[in-house]
């Protein structure tokens, strides 16, 4: 790696970590209901939202009420996205006159955006009207993110409360997260992106006359005839993109306005835009660690969790850069110059953009899969076998290395619960975390949270590679084809949304199965997490005693990292051996 590459990575991590404390502290004030400066701007709006909806903001909810409210609210969101897609042909703001989306694709996309996965079974610029993008997808980008943050805050309240039978008010948490956190940040980011070249218009697609009217040979698969269509014109897909891209990154959503997502120059036009979007991707997940510390009254606990995330992230990032920079051995044999020099970045450039090169493509791939942000700025399917293995494994770790907004941290806290439990077994004491006794009920629920995603990922992959409908979607031959299926289910089963794009996923089989998996992976985990929150809230706080394992020390940091790695490795190494590892061995043997 060049000095410039290292410097870009260091700069990114530095700016990110510098923002953790100010934003994290601000978010803590929001969720603790303390006054902030933005009250003057949005305070009246907030009160007005509660009044019109008939919500008593002062009434706290039991974990059951909280869960039901959350599920009903998200179900409405899912149905709204479904309806918009089915009805878009007759609705306004459809300048390209797109027809209704098929039932299976509409269900898949609705499940995808309601579950904060943002898997793209559809191709944005050829399928969805501006209205569907704005009223359907953008809205879910906000609300699913605010939902994830609400669940986290409820869990933290479970730890900090004593002898309480409530964990907060879902309506208030969701509203405050949207109005005071996601919306203001988006309003800052979106104009910056437009400045860099991201489009933001409601005008129809623009036609331009090309500089050179090129003719292209085109072989038709069925008849074998050769056509030479003259394409003297280019139609530029446009749309209200910047507004959607801003929240797509901030809310760890990732569903693109266009088919190729953030590789599209109108979604991610310059290296600076790329930097800002990358910051937005990890910003809230990282800052929430500090929020958690403040809400617990012990910021060391938050810094410990953040340290674990950074220590897992950085080595995997550097490895991805390394593997992609090595290039493709197949091309080395073909008079292709893949070397790194002052005039080119070299490396594996298939499916990458010149303005991003290797470093920013690899950084994006690891940041988005560490967070559960499904966006891509390079085509993951064309990554080297090992360069693609790391993003896949980051998803399989359960999306706890930063993870989705809220969901990443509540996932990591569940791993911390497992860690104190295992440590408790080793020293023969009742485990405690953050002053709360961890007992059978919590461990049962935590086990569900840890086990459901691998079950969905491995079970789904197995079904896909054993059925004709599943195998029909595979694009690349051999071990790489298996990787495509494994990647898809890793993505859906952990609510990421990233894809090996060659997979033909817009079929009834994949739309249906992946849609159901995304919903289970999201809400099947939220319910046990909220159950833990309710159970913990009812407990008393045990004072720190001689038998208590301190959870802010390097020892616990190491333990937590080891548990995350062990669960991830033991569960997925056999499957990874059949895909990327087999492909790598094959490449090495052939060249």
């Amino acid at each position: 790696m060049t000095l410039s590459g290292l410097f870009q990575i260091a700069l990114y991590l530095t700016v990110l970590l510098l923002l953790v404390k100010p934003l994290g502290g601000y978010m803590a004030r929001i969720y603790l209901g303390q006054p902030v400066l933005l009250n003057r701007v949005f305070g009246r709006l907030e009160v007005w939202l509660y009044r019109l909806s008939g919500i008593d903001a002062a009434a706290a909810m039991s974990w059951r009420q909280y869960t039901v409210s959350l599920l009903v609210f998200n179900a409405i969101g899912l149905l709204a996205v479904l309806a918009l897609q089915r009805l878009q042909a007759g609705l306004p703001l459809n300048p390209q006159q797109f027809p209704a989306v098929s039932w299976d694709s509409a269900f898949n996309t609705a499940a995808s955006f309601a579950s904060n996965t943002n898997w793209q079974g559809y191709s944005g610029e050829t399928t969805l009207s501006y209205l569907t993008q704005m009223l359907g997808l953008s809205v879910q980008n906000f609300l699913s993110a605010a939902t994830g943050m609400a669940v986290l805050v409820a869990l933290v309240r479970g730890f900090s409360a004593r002898n309480a039978d409530t964990i907060g008010n879902f309506w208030v948490d969701m509203t405050r997260g949207t109005v005071y956190i996601l919306l203001p940040l988006s309003l800052v980011l979106a104009p910056l992106l437009v400045w860099q070249g991201v489009v933001q218009t409601l005008s129809p697609y623009q036609e331009v006359r090309l500089m050179e009217a090129a003719e292209y040979r085109q072989t038709q698969a069925d008849s074998g005839t050769v056509k030479t269509p003259a394409t003297g014109r280019q139609t530029l897909a446009l749309g209200p993109v910047a507004a959607q891209v801003a929240i797509k990154q901030l809310g760890t959503n990732g569903g693109g306005f266009f088919n190729v997502n953030s590789a599209h120059p109108f979604e991610n036009p310059t290296p600076l835009a790329n930097f800002l979007e990358l910051l937005a991707i990890l910003l809230i997940p990282a800052a929430l660690c500090y929020t958690f510390g403040v809400m617990m009254g012990d910021t060391r606990q938050g810094w410990l969790i953040l340290s674990a995330m950074v220590l897992l992230f950085v080595p995997l990032l550097l490895l991805t850069v390394y593997f992609e920079q090595q290039g493709n051995p197949v091309l080395s044999a073909l008079q292709v110059d893949q070397s790194l020099g002052g005039m080119q970045t070299g490396g594996n450039m298939e499916g990458k953009e010149v303005r991003f090169g290797i470093v920013n493509s690899a950084l994006w791939a690891t940041a988005t899969t560490a967070a559960s942000n499904g966006s891509v700025n390079a085509m993951m399917d064309s990554f080297t076998p090992l360069g693609g293995l790391i993003p896949m494994w980051l998803m399989q770790l359960g999306e706890v290395v930063f993870g989705g907004v809220g969901s990443g941290l509540y996932g990591m806290l569940i791993f911390a619960v497992i860690a104190v439990f295992i440590a408790g077994l080793m020293i023969g004491r009742t485990p405690e975390y953050l002053g709360k006794k961890i007992e059978a009920f919590e461990i049962k629920m935590a086990a569900l949270v840890i086990l459901i995603p691998p079950f969905l990922v491995l079970g789904g992959t197995a079904i896909a590679v054993m059925t004709d409908a599943g195998k029909a979607g595979l694009f690349n031959p051999g071990a790489h084809g298996f990787s495509e299926a494994l990647y898809a289910f890793s993505s859906a089963g952990n609510n990421n949304g990233s894809a090996f794009g060659g997979l033909s996923a817009n079929t009834p089989f994949y739309n249906g199965v992946l849609g159901i998996i995304m919903l289970i992976a999201r809400f099947g985990l939220i319910v046990p997490v909220l159950a833990i929150a309710g159970s913990l809230a009812a407990k008393k706080i045990v004072p720190f005693g001689q038998g208590t394992l301190p959870t802010h020390t390097p020892l616990f940091l190491l333990l937590l990292i080891m548990i995350v790695l062990m669960v991830g490795a033991l569960t997925f190494v056999p499957a990874l051996a059949l895909g990327p590892i087999a492909e790598q061995l094959q490449l090495m043997a052939d060249h």
């Binding site: 139609t235 290296p271 600076l272 197949v330 292709v336 953009e353 470093v359």
Partner: protein, 195 residues
């Protein structure tokens, strides 16, 4: 369940209004007032005012007198800006090796030797407006010969069109093919005019 249905429905509709209508329209207004050129697609025009393309979206070039862009995997033809797409070919896919082999052969027709990797691999978007400085360098001789221009003139034009890292730090050095070819056409036009 029924008690939370009303607040859920009303709050959802209000939030839709806020985040799905007011928010994007606010951004649109700011964008159109502050950055109208970028907000509408960074469109450049020719001498007659005809839209000639977007600075940010690549175009395909095929004649030897132009600098060529990277291969594009969009369908049904390359550089289709209404349907972005990468090739999604895996590193071990024989189709990738075959495609690269043909591209190398086509480029080696005008200049033997190793070809810069970005010039023979499909971009992620299929719309990459840039090539690496090495890929531009590789084509200088061909372009100069086809246009009967001194190699040095074309070389200087390329050097002027190398965009450095943004703010000196971010991204990678690159050359915008459309802007380079526009300058090239201007150059030839001026030369012809003088003769």
């Amino acid at each position: 369940m029924t008690t939370c249905l009303k607040p859920a429905l009303v709050l959802f509709m209000l939030m839709t209004l806020l985040t799905g209508v007011i928010y994007p329209l606010t951004v649109s207004v700011i964008a159109q007032l502050a950055f109208p050129f970028q907000a509408n697609g960074s469109i450049v025009r020719d001498g007659q005012g005809q839209a000639q393309g977007s600075v940010l979206i690549g175009q395909g070039f095929i004649s030897p007198g132009y600098f060529w862009s990277r291969p594009s995997a969009t369908s049904p033809y390359p550089y289709n800006a209404a349907a972005s797409s990468g090739s999604n070919l895996g590193p071990s896919n024989p189709a990738l090796a075959e495609a690269v082999k043909q591209r190398v052969a086509a480029l080696n027709g005008s200049r033997p030797g190793k070809v810069p990797v970005d010039l023979v691999t499909a971009s992620a978007s299929g719309l990459d407006p840039h090539i690496s400085p090495a890929a531009a360098e590789f084509q200088v001789e061909r372009v100069a010969n086809a246009r009967n221009l001194p190699v040095k003139t074309v070389q200087e034009l390329v050097t002027r069109h190398i965009e450095p890292r943004q703010l000196g730090v971010l991204g990678e050095p690159r050359v915008n093919v459309l802007l380079l070819n526009r300058a090239l056409a201007g150059l030839s036009g001026a030369t012809e005019g003088n003769e």
